[in-house]
């Protein structure tokens, strides 16, 4: 600890951090541009100047950059002295000499850090009377708009894009006052985290192109906390609404998960809610399609709801707990099926069982960043759990920090730390079938089929603990390197996932973790699941789809209710066709049209995430609430799934009085499903009030409230009611200091930009005041109750003439909902097969030609892409890109020329 004096006041603070960080933590408004809590200090903008005094006698002091100044005991500084105030104003004045002053047409206006700093430093009179410098802009693809004239050269963009996210195609060019930030030539920014540029850039150089299509100023957005539904990590988002539509998704800080950054799928995937494919009416389908009014729903259905009829429900790993529970409650536990394949069902259960009973630490993404040794098995993180890839990338910092620390270089001196280790040497190991986005930060890649990966991992486990099942990997040296590194690690991390789809890889990953546990080592196990609520669904009673298919052979289904689930993505086409034929009545609730809705007798329009409320459980077992951003009734007849199911239940059960609110459903779920007991009383319910008032979604400055509805009525209409959450659809209410899970906006006097986030944190880059949202529902076992998995040994296809096929996920395209987002869909590749060029040559296959791939009963036509990094006779099949049927992967298959 260090005693320091700021403006004459004493503080006791942590020593060794940088002064700016400390001042921000203490609540001082020190202007800054180039410093970002996650990107460290580089000292380029010179705005964070404060005055430092030698001792109590020193009255003159000297200007230092607070971001570059280490906090030491006895430090005396002022933040208000005239000289430093003048200097800071001059820095802004400098930057404004060339700035276009185009705030009215700039999308950053109103949430612009440059505006904030200009006001904060007091620069207001322009003395520069010469021509301004101008630049040409670039076309950067569907996500990001570029307007270089607004640039203030803080270098944050390249520091985020290149240094933090590992992007290669954005850089700084030229020098002196012509420096330019962009690409080599026009073209799409390729990095998967490019969207963060919109929040990292303190002005309007990089702005959200998707939001521009329906632009709304920050103060005019009605904001609601949401949770990303596009992968299993559960990053927190802010959904912004105006005129009844979703306008923008922004990062919502979460100290354990996403921190300041989202991936592009999470940020831009939202556009699916406005897709032409949205279902907005109740449809009765029977060769033709008939729109049904809500009132006559019961007439359409009633016939099938008699006593004794066999009614079954298929739940969904992308639907909320409440929606799944409503379905379970409608059809009864015995008739509730998890809408996933038997294979996925088994792997998910297995992984969860290990996570709950092994006593292992399930790390947050933040904790992953601190790992010193990482072993990733089978998972291509950037495509299956994108934000996790970004976290692991930060773990590469560990070795840099260690090197730098030995020379007393503080961690926060961003460039000094990097310059000190120009040739990265980390202890990150990745074993995947093909080249990986993390390859540039890893110690050594291992490329092999899943059986080789499992064998490698098993060898590692066996080296760590003699009692672990022995395995026989050809890669003894690598296995022993990895084992040694893990053994000596302070903070080892193993990552694998259900997504890779291989049981042996998953089991061997658990075995490595178990071996470390048995050695009494601390170890973290990061697990990836396929969808946003895979974990939650898996904690429900119920059986996999295959069981339903089998039982329907014996006992035909009278009414099938499918909840937010396209069965054709879960099982082979023929199987689903056969099954659906056996169901007398098929009712499907979904948001977008798909193969399953086409086959339905009745389609009910389900609300999307931004129109509904519910709870999702992420990959670390954290239950999180998302709330509706759009008032009911804005999207035709679309309603939240639990409401539809509630109605079906009312129709079906005479005695059922109905759930009156989400809280009712939730309570009922907690009573019935013990797995969720930990959630009891943990979420603020509808009745939650602050100082007797609801929390407003709109800011104090929300404009046009009366005029928005002037078409309907010139008198001000009553704001829509929200019966399910503590939020109001208006600006009335208690805005300040909400619980961390109910933050609707980042704002603080003087801080209109997203930089205001820091005011909501215990310290920059730290935790939200009041704790990070979400409830971890797995009780981690105190002692390991698990034992080693016995592996069957490798079942390589060598010599069988068949190919080992593994799934290739794509951040853009493999996830069902985001694939329907219009901008994001521009980035989706057509279905492909990855082949080693030598394999292709042997088979006489050329690049870019179409081939037929036969996997079990499914035949796919795929375009061939060469991939040098693949092992021989192992081929990758793109997974679930639009237009692709379900295929059982990994597996073996035949490839034939067409």
């Amino acid at each position: 600890m260090a005693k320091i004096k700021i403006d004459g006041k004493q503080f006791e603070v942590e020593a060794g951090k940088n002064l700016l960080d400390t001042c921000l933590e203490l609540g001082f408004d020190i202007p800054h541009f180039c410093f970002h809590p996650a990107l460290g200090s580089v000292g380029s903008c010179r705005l964070c100047a404060v005055k430092k005094y030698k001792d109590e006698e020193d009255s003159r002091g000297r200007i230092v950059m607070s971001c570059m100044e280490p906090v030491t005991d006895g430090l005396i500084i002022s933040t208000h002295d005239e000289e430093e105030k003048t200097f800071r104003a001059e820095v802004v004045e400098s930057l404004m000499t060339n700035h276009p002053h185009d705030c009215p047409v700039c999308d950053e206006g109103g949430e612009c850090h440059l505006q904030d700093m200009t006001v904060m430093t007091g620069h207001n009179y322009r003395q520069f009377d010469f021509k301004k410098r101008t630049y040409q802009n670039q076309e950067l693809g569907p996500f990001i708009k570029h307007e270089m004239n607004r640039c203030i050269q803080c270098y944050r963009c390249v520091r985020f894009y290149k240094d933090y996210a590992g992007g290669k195609d954005l850089n700084v060019f030229a020098s002196n006052n012509r420096v330019y930030f962009g690409r080599f030539e026009d073209g799409t920014l390729e990095n998967e985290f490019s969207g963060n540029l919109t929040e990292v850039c303190p002005t309007g150089v990089f702005t959200d192109k998707t939001a521009h299509k329906h632009f709304t100023r920050k103060w005019d957005l009605s904001n609601t906390p949401s949770v990303c539904t596009h992968c299993s990590l559960g990053c927190n988002t802010l959904a912004g609404e105006r005129y009844g539509t979703l306008r923008r998704i922004r990062n919502r800080y979460h100290g354990d998960i996403n921190g300041y950054f989202l991936c592009d799928r999470g940020r831009f995937g939202y556009e699916f809610v406005g897709s032409d494919n949205r279902i907005k009416e109740i449809w009765k389908q029977n060769g033709n399609r008939e729109v049904v009014s809500s009132e006559s729903l019961s007439e359409v259905l009633s016939g099938a709801f008699q006593e004794g009829h066999n009614m079954v429900g298929i739940g969904s790993p992308r639907a909320s707990l409440e929606a799944n529970y409503s379905l379970l409650s409608l059809v009864g536990t015995d008739h509730f099926y998890h809408g996933v394949s038997a294979h996925e069902y088994e792997l998910t259960k297995m992984a969860l069982d290990f996570m709950q009973n092994s006593g292992i630490q399930i790390p947050t993404l933040k904790q992953m960043e601190t790992a010193d040794v990482v072993l990733i098995l089978g998972e291509d993180l950037v495509n299956t759990a994108p934000r996790m890839a970004l976290a692991v990338r930060q773990a590469a910092r560990h070795s840099m920090n260690k090197d730098a620390g030995a020379k007393k270089i503080p961690e926060w001196t961003e460039l000094a730390v990097r310059d000190n280790q120009p040739v990265l040497s980390t202890q990150i190991y990745v074993a995947t079938p093909k080249k990986d986005s993390l390859d540039d930060v890893i110690k050594q890649p291992f490329r092999g089929g899943y059986s080789e990966i499992a064998a490698l991992a098993s060898s590692v486990a066996a080296l760590l603990d003699k009692n672990a099942p022995a395995a026989d990997s050809e890669h003894k040296k690598l296995a022993s390197d990895i084992a040694k590194a893990l053994q000596n690690a302070e903070n080892p991390l193993i990552i694998s996932g259900v997504t890779c789809g291989d049981k042996e890889v998953l089991q061997s990953a658990c075995n490595v973790a178990q071996a470390l546990l048995n050695n009494d080592k601390k170890v973290m196990l990061g697990m990836i699941f396929p969808e946003s609520n895979s974990t939650g669904l898996s904690l429900f009673p119920g059986k996999p789809l295959a069981d339903l298919f089998a039982s329907s052979e014996k006992k035909p289904v009278d009414t099938l209710v499918v909840l937010e689930n396209d069965l054709y993505r879960r099982a082979e086409t023929g199987q689903v066709n056969d099954f659906l034929l056996k169901c007398k009545q098929v009712i499907v609730l979904d948001q977008l049209q798909n193969e399953t809705t086409v086959k339905a007798d009745v389609v009910l329009p389900a609300a999307v995430f931004s129109e509904s409320e519910g709870t999702l459980v992420n990959n670390e077992g954290r239950a999180q609430r998302f709330y509706k951003a759009i008032p009911d009734g804005e999207n035709g007849q679309a309603r939240e799934s639990w409401l539809w199911l509630n109605e079906l239940k009312e129709i079906k059960e005479n005695g059922f009085e109905g759930w009156s609110s989400l809280d009712d459903v939730f309570q009922s779920m907690l009573n019935e499903l013990p797995a969720f007991a930990a959630l009891k009383g943990k979420f603020p319910d509808e009745g939650f009030r602050m100082l007797g008032r609801k929390i407003p979604r709109e800011s104090f400055r929300y404009s046009g409230r009366t005029s928005i509805h002037a078409r309907e009525s010139v008198s001000e209409s009553y704001p829509p009611e929200d019966f399910d959450s503590p939020f109001a659809f208006s600006m009335e209410g208690q805005q300040e200091d909400p619980p961390s899970s109910l933050i609707t906006s980042y704002w603080s006097p003087g801080w209109n930009s997203v930089q205001a986030t820091n005011k909501y944190l215990d310290k920059p880059n730290g935790d939200l005041k009041g704790g990070n949202p979400g409830i971890r529902i797995f009780p981690t076992a105190a002692k390991s109750k698990t034992s080693y998995f016995k592996l069957n040994g490798s079942k390589s296809n060598k010599g069988t003439g068949e190919w080992q096929l593994f799934p290739v996920y794509q951040i853009f395209g493999s996830e069902e909902l985001s694939a329907a987002a219009s901008s994001l869909s521009e980035r989706i590749k057509e279905p492909f097969l990855l082949l080693h060029p030598d394999d292709a040559r042997d088979a006489g296959i050329d690049e870019s030609t179409a081939v037929q791939v036969e996997i079990k009963n499914e035949k796919l036509t795929l375009r061939v892409n060469f991939e040098n990094s693949l092992p021989r006779k192992v081929a990758g099949v793109s997974l679930q890109l639009p237009g692709m049927p379900f295929v059982a992967l990994p597996g073996s298959g035949k490839i034939t020329k067409m």
């Binding site: 850089n171 060019f173 080599f184």
Partner: protein, 154 residues
């Protein structure tokens, strides 16, 4: 795109440093030596050879004033506009070049014979005014001397 000779020279340079990317500047200079300037293709080729992205190479290439990212004539005249040359009358020299060749700073004669560029102090201050044509220094310039100098470059 790179010739065998260029590749070999770049490989030689790479031996001087423990990491390949450190040879980036030298590689660009080699390309320029052979081609007079560095084209987009040149940047890409260097990037490919040193396992860098185009952006990484371009970031370096555009920082340095002696890497030409636009075509230049067969001969490049670098007129020193450093302070000592200014005092000693570099303006006359430049004016004469402008008049004689019909080009200003940054321009190339239509026959591609000359490009003229300003250059900061050449370190010939005690013999100012000075200029360079390609790799040759010329000092204590007068208009007459300049005539003779230019005529040597075809």
């Amino acid at each position: 795109m790179l010739s065998e000779v260029e590749k070999k020279e770049i490989q030689e340079e790479m031996k001087m440093y423990p990491v390949a990317s450190a040879a980036c500047l030298s590689a660009l200079k080699i390309v320029q030596e052979h081609r007079g300037w560095v084209s987009d293709e040149g940047v890409k080729a260097v990037a490919g050879m040193l396992n860098m992205s185009n952006e990484e190479v371009e970031s370096v290439a555009t920082f340095y004033s002696r890497i030409y990212r636009k075509p230049v004539g067969r001969n490049v005249i670098l007129v020193c506009d450093g302070i000592s040359c200014m005092i000693m009358g570099h303006e006359n020299i430049y004016e004469h070049i402008k008049e004689k060749l019909g080009i200003s700073y940054g321009e190339t004669t239509s026959d591609d014979r000359f490009t003229v560029l300003p250059i900061s102090c050449l370190g010939d201050c005690d013999h100012a005014p000075s200029l360079m044509v390609n790799n040759d220094h010329y000092n204590e310039l007068t208009v007459e001397k300049l005539e003779a100098i230019l005529s040597q470059y075809k």
